[in-house]
Symmetry: C2
Subunit: 122 residues, 2 copies
DNA sequence: TTGATACATAACTATATAGTTATGTATAAT
DNA sequence: ATTATACATAACTATATAGTTATGTATCAA
């Protein structure tokens, strides 16, 4: 089996850094393609291709205005990523930091086998 | 150019759903490989391969105990993902929800071209 | 009509995969 | 020594890419 398509979901789509750059640009509001080409320093076809992927996963939407295509962000599509990774936030933030992880670890170790000792390195 | 390697960074590593499953398991504490094989219903070599990728991006660490390899989470490696996606959180949460996006959009439209009207659908 | 502009898409290539089935390498048990 | 257990790795295959250079298709301008 090969890797899942970039258009499978938001996780796969934003794994590509240039696509994250595009989304970062769109945070400030909708933009035509040429605008992004200038800002990002990529070729026009490449930007179009990345936009296609982002559109297929719902991260951007298009509006036609004359001969321009105005792209805008649809951040909702990124929510699954945020929801998932937020589950790990407690491991580094808050007043506990790494302690949380250590506690979970101890809890787990007690539960299973448990080799007894452990506080040798006091 | 092909797609970036899965071991390039955390973004690429967690694009694969089975690797996210593995990390989700490790939230409860360190585990030997065989344990995960049972829980996840994947083949042992596949789990080992996924663990290798996660290790290369720093998302997990290993400890040898006899013939077992105990893997544990290193959530710090996921922080760049959290940091990035958190920049989009305001678009769906808080007391504003979608309004924030609309305001950014208006601000931007005023700045550039500006087709004038727009409040026709009031 | 002729030409320019804005964008999408096709054709092409090298490359890294996800998953499988062997097989290797320690450690442990008999 | 022999066998079993726990895990890593090799070899293999189909597939989807990221980026390039054409080329197509609307729209606007003269």
């Amino acid at each position: 089996m090969a890797r899942a398509a970039t258009t499978t979901d938001a996780f796969n789509a934003v794994a590509e850094p240039r696509r994250r750059e595009i989304l970062d640009l769109l945070v400030d509001g909708e933009r035509p393609v040429g605008d992004m080409v200038g800002q990002l320093g990529m070729s026009q076809p490449l930007v179009s291709k990345h936009l296609r992927v982002l559109r297929e996963v719902g991260a951007v939407e298009v509006r036609e205005e004359g001969r321009r295509r105005l792209y805008r962000l649809n951040a909702e599509a990124l929510r699954p990523i945020h929801d998932w990774v937020s589950g790990y936030e407690r491991f580094w933030s808050g007043r506990f930091g790494r302690l949380d992880a250590v506690l979970e670890d101890l809890k787990r170790r007690e539960g299973s086998g448990g080799d007894g000792g452990g506080s040798k390195e006091g």
